[in-house]
């Protein structure tokens, strides 16, 4: 069991932001996936608990709770959009006064990390995208795999079912992981986001259409070669929600314009290769940073 370091707080443009930091040297910043307002699962900085401490022996490892997720404040003026999440992530990097960082984004966080880089080249030294169906062109299969969990939303059983179906090996979904998700779900401010996204329908009225519009633009920009940073795509081979072909397609988009483009596949891994193969993922990240020094 790996613990995150003690959490800290930072004011990011009026948003009280929770973050975690350990180690020294080249800064590596991790952005997890998911979005605010989901009632059957909930991501937080804990997603990276198997990576932050081990990597902090070699780099300055940082993660933070995204806008409206984990313990960070919900968006102002009900701006429940990916664009607001991206702006907050970039503002966090600026508020931390970091030199250009190695940005690592998973799933929806892979989209956010890429868009932060495209909008703020000065903040980013390299990009790592992990199993991001949100960023990859093609058909996402989350709703096919995870439609209507057989347990009531917000229960431990439901949370466990969702992450087991994301994973190759259901045994990687530990009690500790479920505990962390349950703790986020129990926060009053998180429940507020669940109401906004679900009951007030901001998910379908605002978040998804805005993301679709911005994704078109983001893919166009990648296709035009605007990223202009070393990039690696890491993929769990057995992810049913973002299948391997989508990783290949995404890698090919980047590789067209970037000499330092790499594609890495981990066998017997679902959506979370850094949780199913933490030692190997951490070794790959450490050596990536060294190779760009």
């Amino acid at each position: 069991m790996a613990r995150l370091p003690e959490g800290r707080w930072l004011d990011v443009d009026g948003i009280r932001t929770r973050y975690f930091e350990a180690g020294s040297g080249e800064p590596v910043v991790f952005i997890y996936g998911g979005n605010f307002g989901t009632g059957d699962s909930a991501s937080s900085a804990h997603t990276w608990n198997l990576n932050l401490a081990p990597l902090s022996e070699h780099v300055r490892a940082i993660t933070f709770d995204k806008l409206g997720q984990g313990e960070t404040d919900n968006p102002k003026n009900d701006d429940y959009t990916m664009a607001a999440v991206v702006r907050h992530a970039a503002a966090f990097l600026r508020a931390m006064k970091l030199p250009p960082v190695h940005l690592v984004g998973h799933s929806r966080g892979g989209y956010a990390a890429t868009r932060v880089a495209l909008d703020n080249h000065d903040l980013v030294k390299s990009l790592t995208v992990v199993n991001s169906g949100t960023l990859s062109p093609g058909v996402g299969t989350n709703e096919v795999v995870l439609a209507k969990p057989p347990y009531a939303a917000g229960t431990r059983e439901c949370v466990r079912w969702v992450y087991e179906n994301y994973s190759f090996d259901p045994k990687v979904v530990t009690e500790e992981w479920v505990d962390a998700v349950m703790a986020t779900l129990a926060l009053p401010k998180y429940q507020e986001s669940v109401r906004k996204i679900g009951v007030e329908k901001l998910g379908t009225k605002l978040f998804l259409p805005d993301l679709a519009r911005e994704k078109r633009e983001t893919l166009q920009w990648i296709n035009e070669g605007r990223l202009q940073r070393p990039v690696q795509v890491v993929w769990g081979f057995d992810d049913r929600t973002a299948v391997i072909d989508r990783g290949i397609e995404l890698y090919n988009l980047f590789a067209k314009h970037e000499r330092r483009a790499l594609f890495h596949v981990f066998n017997q891994s679902g959506h979370f290769p850094f949780r199913e193969h933490p030692e190997r993922f951490n070794a790959l990240m450490r050596r990536w940073v060294e190779s760009l020094a």
């Binding site: 081979f237 290949i248 890698y251 590789a255 970037e258 000499r259 330092r260 483009a261 790499l262 594609f263 890495h264 596949v265 981990f266 066998n267 017997q268 193969h277 030692e279 190997r280 951490n282 070794a283 790959l284 450490r286 050596r287 990536w288 060294e290 190779s291 760009l292």
Partner: protein
């Protein structure tokens, strides 16, 4: 220790491979060594490498092309000698399928194995010609003076059957008990000798029965990714070498 095993069949491969083919990337590893591959069949070549690594403790074998198949064969035959395998641009180990003819090396300038002919071959095997420098060509010419080319008869009567036999054994183990030693595949994005799918299918084969198998693609490289992108190659090999091994 990391042992680098070169590929190539003397007299058949139009450039002359050998320990020199790895080039400057070896200096990035603190514990690298190379071996000379000798023999007229894959089995004989495998035994020559086995002899060279015996007594060195368990080694991470990094094999290029045919050297990759030899490394995988040793992982099956003598897992007590092997801690990990990295197969690099290993067209020899990847499925042959009923592929279309590859014309990359179809019409080499004569005389074969001359400096100019080897330059032609190395450039054609690569994404970019920049790594084909005087130092490499000198080493290839020196190697050509020492190596005995395989005759067409030996190639057809002995080598090719031994290659098919070694591949069949490899795929059989992949499908049944699995390879007990952690393996990864590194592929050049622009390898003119094989497609992306060849690399992915080599990985899929190993992945059937091995939890920790990995597949990596290095952009803007051909058949010699360790020469064209040494930093990326070092990242992938050293990461696999360093991580805790639980097959």
């Amino acid at each position: 220790m990391i042992v680098f095993i070169h590929g190539g069949v003397p007299g058949v491969t139009p450039y002359c491979s050998g320990p020199h083919i790895w080039g400057s990337v070896l200096q990035q590893f603190s514990n690298a060594t190379t071996v000379d591959v000798a023999g007229q069949t894959v089995d004989a070549m495998t035994q020559s490498v086995r002899k060279a690594i015996e007594g060195k403790g368990r080694c991470h074998l990094v094999g290029h092309d045919l050297g990759g198949l030899i490394a995988l064969g040793l992982a099956i035959e003598a897992p007590q000698l092997v801690s990990a395998v990295t197969a690099v641009a290993s067209v020899a180990a990847s499925p042959t399928g009923d592929g279309v003819g590859d014309f990359t090396f179809a019409y080499p300038p004569k005389p074969l194995w001359s400096r100019e002919s080897q330059r032609w071959a190395l450039e054609r095997a690569s994404y970019s010609h920049h790594h084909v420098d005087g130092k490499l060509l000198d080493a290839c010419v020196a190697a050509a003076a020492k190596q005995q080319p395989m005759t067409p008869e030996t190639y057809a009567e002995q080598f090719v059957p031994s290659l098919m036999k070694a591949k069949a054994r490899f795929y059989e183990v992949c499908r049944s008990e699995g390879i007990k030693v952690p393996c990864q595949v590194i592929w050049g994005s622009h390898d003119p000798l094989a497609t992306f799918d060849h690399g992915l299918w080599l990985f899929r084969g190993i992945a059937q029965r091995q939890r920790v198998a990995q597949f990596h693609v290095i952009n803007r490289t051909g058949s010699l990714p360790f020469r064209e992108e040494p930093a990326a190659f070092h990242q992938v090999v050293s990461a696999f070498n360093g991580a805790g091994v639980r097959s």
